[in-house]
Symmetry: C2
Amino acid sequence: MTDTTPVDLASLRTQWPALTHQERVDGLRLLPAAEAHDLFHTLSAADQAALIGGLSQPEAAIWMRLLPPDDAADVLQAVTPRERLRLEGMLDRNTLRETTALLAYAEDEAGGLMNPRFPRLRPEVSVDVAIRYLRRQTHKPLATLYYAYVLDSDQRLLGVVSFAELLAAPGEKRIDQIMQRDAISVSEHADQEAVARVFATNDLTAVPVLDEKGCMRGVITVDDIVDVVQEEATEDIQKLGGVEALGAPYLAVSFGKMLQKRGGWLSALFLGEMLTATAMGYFENEIEKAVVLALFVPLIISSGGNSGSQAATLIVRSLAIGELRLRDWFRVLWREVRSGLALGAWLGFIGFLRVILWQYSGFYEYGPHYLLLAVTVWASLVGVVGFGTLVGGMLPFLLRRLGFDPATSSAPFVATLVDVMGLVIYFGAAILILEGTLL
Amino acid sequence: MTDTTPVDLASLRTQWPALTHQERVDGLRLLPAAEAHDLFHTLSAADQAALIGGLSQPEAAIWMRLLPPDDAADVLQAVTPRERLRLEGMLDRNTLRETTALLAYAEDEAGGLMNPRFPRLRPEVSVDVAIRYLRRQTHKPLATLYYAYVLDSDQRLLGVVSFAELLAAPGEKRIDQIMQRDAISVSEHADQEAVARVFATNDLTAVPVLDEKGCMRGVITVDDIVDVVQEEATEDIQKLGGVEALGAPYLAVSFGKMLQKRGGWLSALFLGEMLTATAMGYFENEIEKAVVLALFVPLIISSGGNSGSQAATLIVRSLAIGELRLRDWFRVLWREVRSGLALGAWLGFIGFLRVILWQYSGFYEYGPHYLLLAVTVWASLVGVVGFGTLVGGMLPFLLRRLGFDPATSSAPFVATLVDVMGLVIYFGAAILILEGTLL
C-alpha cells in the first residue's frame, strides 16, 4: 500500500479515476464491507472487470458473487474469452443461468438492460400475506425494491402494486383488488433509446420487460436509464461534431484509436471538399478577370455552412428526443425554407453594407461597379444561406428515412455539402449580374 | 366532443401533442379517474397549465389539488400573474405554503427540483412501529415511496432506510440499528447539472436535499433527473450547433423567436468571418500573380474548421459529463497538438497526391512549378489542421476558466476563428515556398 491510498469512501470515490490498480484494491480492502460493496456496485463494468482480473481466485469469487445477473453479464462482456471462463466458474449455478440468458440479448436492447430478479406476487393472496411474503424475500438482491409484479401461473403480467400501496392498503384486501392493471411495459427486443423515451414520457422508476407472449422476463430501473440517456446524447454530440462515437471517456481512448475515430471522417470530408477546388477551377477565368470575386469566397460559403449546421443540429436533436417524427418533414421544410431566405436576406444586407461602407470610407477600392458587386454579394447570400438551411434541415429526415442515424448529418458534413454548391451559386450570380461590366 | 376524440389511455397519450384543447379536456373526462390522474401527472407543466386554464373554477380546483407542491410550483411559474393568483387560491393552506417556499429557489437548483413531502422516521422507534406508522402515512402523495428518512428533533438527517430493508428487518430492531448512515445528499443550492452527476456517479433513485445546517428540506427523485439530463444535453447540442438554446420543442417555438435565436449567432459569425475578406484583400497581389492559389482556399480553410469542430465537440462533452476537469488542460493540449499535426500531415498527404495526380492525368495544368505548389498545400494543411485542433481543444477550457459555458465554442464559432488564421497560414506558406517561382 502506498502512503497516498485514500482510506475513506468519499475521497476514494473522487480520486478513483486517477488511482493505480494496486491503490484501488488496497482502498477497497480498507473500507468497511458495506461501503466497499457500495463503491463496487457503482463502478463501470470495465472498472469492475479490471479490478476482479487482478485478484486471486478466492477474492475474485467474492466480488463476482456480489454482482446481480445484469451486472455480471456486463463484466463477462468486458473481458477476454479466457478470463470469461474463469469468472463464469465463480458464479453459482442459478446466477450463471440467468447471466447466460441475458448475454443472448444485444447490449442496446431492453433485454440487455433488464434485471431478471424482481418481486413477484400472486393475484389471489391478501395484502397481509403479500407483505409477510415480501418481508421474507427482500433480503435477496432484487432489481426493484419499489414495486411487486403480479403474475399468473404462466408468468404473464397481470398488474403492478407499489410497496407503498401495499403498505397503505387494508390487510385483508386481495392483491388483484389493489393492483394497477394495464401497466406500461416494454418488449424484450425494444431499442434502449425507445425504452428511455418510455421512461421520460411516463415519469417511471421501473418498467417490466415482456416477451412476445406477455410473460414477464425482467425489470429495467430508471438508474440504468440515466446512463442510457447520457450515453446516447454523447454519441449524438460526437457524431454531430464530425467524430465517430468514441464509446469511452476522452482520456481512456488510446492515441491511435483517437486518430482513427477522427481521421476517418476528416479524410472523407477532405475528399468531398476537394470538389471545391474543382469548382473553383471551373470559374478560374472569372477570378482572373475580377480577383475581387475571390475575396468573398470564404465569407459566402461559410455562411451557408453555418446556417446549415444550425438547421441540422436543431432537427437531429428534435428527432432524437421524439419532438419531431418522420411525417413532420413537410412542416419543417416549409419552415426552414422561410427561415433560410429571411436569414439569407439579412446576412446579405450586412454584406451589402460592408461593400458600400468599405468603398466610401476608402478602406478598399472595388472600382466603378462596386454597387453591382454589392448586389452580387447580397443575392449570393440569399441563395447560399437558403440552400444551406434547406440541406441542413432535410438531410436528417433523409438519413432516417434511409435507415441511417440522423446524427450523421454533422456540422462539418453539411458544411462540406453546402460549400461546393455555394461556389456554384456565388459565381453563377456573379456571371448573371456582372457580365459586361466586371466580367 | 368530436368524433375523433380518443377514449382510451394509450391512444390519448400517443395522440396528445396533436389534440386541440377541447379534445384533451373531453379525453380526460372520459377516462376512469385513476387513469386520468395518471395521464395528468405525466404532462409537462406547460400542458397542465393550459389544461387547467381552460376549465371552470370548481373543475380547475380539483386538478390543482392533485398536484404535489413541486409540480404545483412549476404550473404557477408557467402562467400569467393574474392566472397565478386564481390558481393559488385553489390550493389548501399547507400546499400553498410549501409551494411558495419552493418558488423562492431558482428553477435550475436542487431546491427547485425537490419535493418537500417525504416519509420521515424517528431513530428510536422499532421496525414494527415504523411499518405501522408508514402504513398510515403513505396514502398521502409523497416524493419517494422507496426510502424513509431518519431525522432528529431538529430535522437534521441521521440516516436512510429503504422500504425493502424495513420489510426485511426483524420487527423488534430499532431504526437506528438498521439505517444507513452517511447517506449521500446534496445542498439546496446545488446546480441541477451537479445533482445529475451525483445521481449518475452513485446510481441513486432519490437523494435528500439539505440546507446549510444539515436540516432536510426535501427529496429529488431520479425521474426528474432523467428530464434534467435530457434538457442539459439538448442545450449543449444546440449551442454546439451555433444556435442559442431554444428552451422548447422545435415546433413550439414561434417563427419570429426561431429567427432571433438563430440570427443572433449567424450575424456574429458573419461579422467575424468578414475578416476573411480583409485577409484575402491583403493577399490580393499573390492571387493576381497566381490565380491557382485561390482554388485551394476553401479546401484548406475548411479542413482547419472541421478538425477544430471535432476537437471542440469532444472536449465540450467531456467537460460537461465530468470526464475532464479544468486541471486536465495540459494533458489535453499535449494530446491535441500531436493529433492535429498527425491529422494535418495525413490530409496534407492526400492534398499533395491530388495536385500530382491531376497534373499527371491532365485534369488540370498547374504549370512547371506544380511540385512546389503541392508542397505548399501539404505544409499549409499541417499548419491549418494543427492550429484548428489546438484552438478547438483549448477554447472550451478557456471559456470555462473565464466562467462561460464551454458549449459556446460551437463548430461554427471555431470554424470562423480558424478561417482567418488559416488564410494567413496558407498564404504565408505560399510566399515562403513559391517566392521567385509562381510569386
